[in-house]
């Protein structure tokens, strides 16, 4: 027999139990067994032999994987600053209670609700050099089409443009909500002093919303390190692997070549990279904040 207290606590536990079951079954267990799997040479057909860290050392010598890591960092370096800065300016422009501003907020957020397959379908028709929208426009002015998707030096930049167009809505909304929290009397005082607007921006607005800037940068880092659909659908990683990110590498190795131990190892490296970048930014941000006080 359980004591009344134990029975009561068991009854309480039943509220969280359904979620915890799903959580442990579909998130924690696959994570742990994935770490285990990365130490095996395994394929889909049941064959598996323990190889220790061989998958990892193979990855670090695999030029295809190293190129994918380089591509991913390059992509993050292109998109995250753009997705931290462009939405900030949009938010500054749209931070007013007019119908026009509300309409444009809706316009800039609308792309965020589309799925990656629609976004890539649309943008392929914009960027392709044979009859794409941009090619038609610049062709009208007598210029040759730009090989956005077939030039290895341009393809990641094209992916970044697509991604910024797709993802800028959410950071804009986050900035808008942060701007609403800034006390208005500071601006009124600044206006009396005739402070120019760019000084107001750097001395009042930016310090006041610095936490949101950090939040946006961390969120976008986590998101953009997981780049997959855009290159998978438009270029299949080409030309010459110039647009293959880490996740596409995992997908090809795990679900096309069925070398699942190797793919599991690559996905653990991606997890580690994302975790380290997130923690680093978090610590830098909290240290700076501590010094400010």
């Amino acid at each position: 027999m359980m004591s009344p207290k134990a029975r009561r606590e068991f009854g309480n536990f039943l509220f969280v139990a359904p979620y915890l079951c799903v959580f442990l079954w579909l998130l924690i267990w696959p994570l742990i067994s994935g770490m285990g799997l990365s130490l095996f040479k395994a394929d889909l057909f049941g064959g598996a032999s323990f190889v220790g860290f061989e998958n990892y050392s193979r990855l670090l010598q695999d030029p295809v994987f190293l190129q994918a890591v380089g591509n991913t960092f390059y992509f993050v370096a292109l998109t995250v600053p753009a997705l931290a800065i462009i939405p900030l300016f949009l938010a500054l422009m749209l931070n007013r209670a007019t119908r026009t501003a509300a309409f444009f907020r809706g316009v800039f957020f609308s792309s965020s609700v589309l799925s990656v397959t629609i976004v890539t379908l649309i943008w392929r028709m914009v960027l392709m050099s044979d009859g794409g929208f941009v090619a038609n426009i610049i062709g009208f002015f007598g210029f040759d089409p730009i090989p956005f998707l077939s030039d290895p030096n341009l393809v990641m930049i094209s992916m970044s443009i697509i991604t910024v167009w797709w993802c800028l809505g959410l950071p804009m909304m986050l900035y808008l909500s942060a701007l609403q929290q800034v006390p208005q009397d500071i601006y009124e005082a600044a206006a009396l002093d005739n402070t120019p607007w760019w000084k107001q921006l750097t001395h009042i607005t930016l310090p006041a919303i610095s936490r949101t800037v950090v939040l946006v940068v961390i969120m976008q880092c986590v998101l953009q390190f997981q780049l997959f659909g855009q290159p998978q659908l438009i270029t299949q990683g080409g030309p010459n692997g110039a647009s293959r990110p880490i996740v596409l590498f995992i997908f090809e190795v795990g679900f096309r070549r069925w070398d699942i131990g190797y793919a599991a190892a690559a996905s653990q490296i991606l997890f580690a990279i994302i975790l380290m970048v997130t923690l680093a930014q978090y610590f830098v941000a909290s240290r700076r904040e501590g010094r400010g006080r």
């Binding site: 579909l26 998130l27 379908l121 038609n136 107001q200 653990q268 997890f271």
Partner: protein
């Protein structure tokens, strides 16, 4: 109101010019897609510049209505996204109430573990989850498409925060009346969380509707594709496609339901990210 860009004459015009220019860049790809979808495939084969002028036709839309595949995908998407949303709302509300209000051993440790789950990217678990589901025969089934979405910890985090913000006196008073925990939860607290339910619901629905990774590897039979994966499958065969106009009509057709949801729930989406600040 915005101080950086005041209402002075030339500055105001500059504001308008910049907004219209940026807005045009934003919608130009969408308009281009719409124009292409309204052209006959043979005309586009000659040159896509034809899309800039008349004649326009609805033949691609008629073709879509005749093909059954797209409607099956639409049905799958509605079902999967809808059931995922209902499941997440149910599990998150129960767990949020439990973590925020009730006493049981290891409660705080368990909550920290759930928070840690927020940092796990899909790719770190997808290979072993795919194996697990293969072993259970769940691929190409609705449970197989829905279950993974239920494990996301964000909803539990959100609902726990929300329940914590509700004054404790409310449920304590009800408890004194000898109401059961389930009754307090159902009758007193749950109605107060409706704004949070709306927020969580719309974001879960959007995420499930747009999810590409998991349905791509789990649903391999065309009749189990979601709209997102189905549109991708016609895109992969881009070179031998039945026609550009038809492909773009699919894009329009697939965006319309979610854009309608967006327009309808815009208020909640804005409120979701903005607190109550931006109206």
């Amino acid at each position: 109101m915005s101080k950086p860009f005041g209402h002075m004459g030339w500055r105001h015009s500059l504001w308008w010019l910049a907004l219209i220019a940026l807005g045009l860049i934003m919608v130009a790809p969408l308009i281009w897609t719409l124009m292409l979808s309204l052209k006959s495939n043979s005309e586009l084969l000659r040159s896509t510049t034809n899309a800039f002028h008349l004649p326009y036709t609805l033949e691609n839309y008629a073709a879509i209505l005749k093909s059954s595949g797209v409607f099956r995908w639409l049905f799958n998407s509605v079902l999967v996204a809808g059931l995922t949303t209902i499941g997440v709302l149910t599990l998150s509300s129960l767990a949020g109430y439990g973590f925020a209000r009730l006493e049981f051993p290891f409660r705080d440790v368990l909550f920290v573990v759930v928070l840690f789950g927020l940092a796990i990217p899909e790719q770190a678990v997808i290979i072993t989850r795919h194996q697990m589901f293969a072993g259970l025969g769940l691929h190409n089934s609705y449970p197989g498409l829905i279950l993974p979405g239920l494990a996301a910890p964000f909803g539990v985090f959100l609902m726990t925060q929300y329940f914590k913000a509700i004054p404790k006196e409310l449920d304590e008073a009800a408890m004194l009346d000898n109401a059961s925990r389930l009754k307090v939860f159902w009758k007193v607290l749950l109605p107060l969380t409706l704004p949070a339910q709306a927020t969580l619901g719309i974001f879960t629905f959007l995420a499930a509707w747009n999810d590409y990774w998991w349905p791509l590897i789990s649903a391999t039979r065309p009749e189990m594709f979601t709209l997102t994966v189905g549109i991708a499958s016609s895109q992969i065969n881009f070179a031998q496609t039945s026609g550009l106009g038809y492909l773009m009509t699919q894009a329009v057709f697939a965006s319309v339901p979610i854009l309608i949801v967006y327009v309808f729930f815009q208020k909640y989406i804005v409120r979701a990210v903005a607190g109550q600040a931006v109206r």
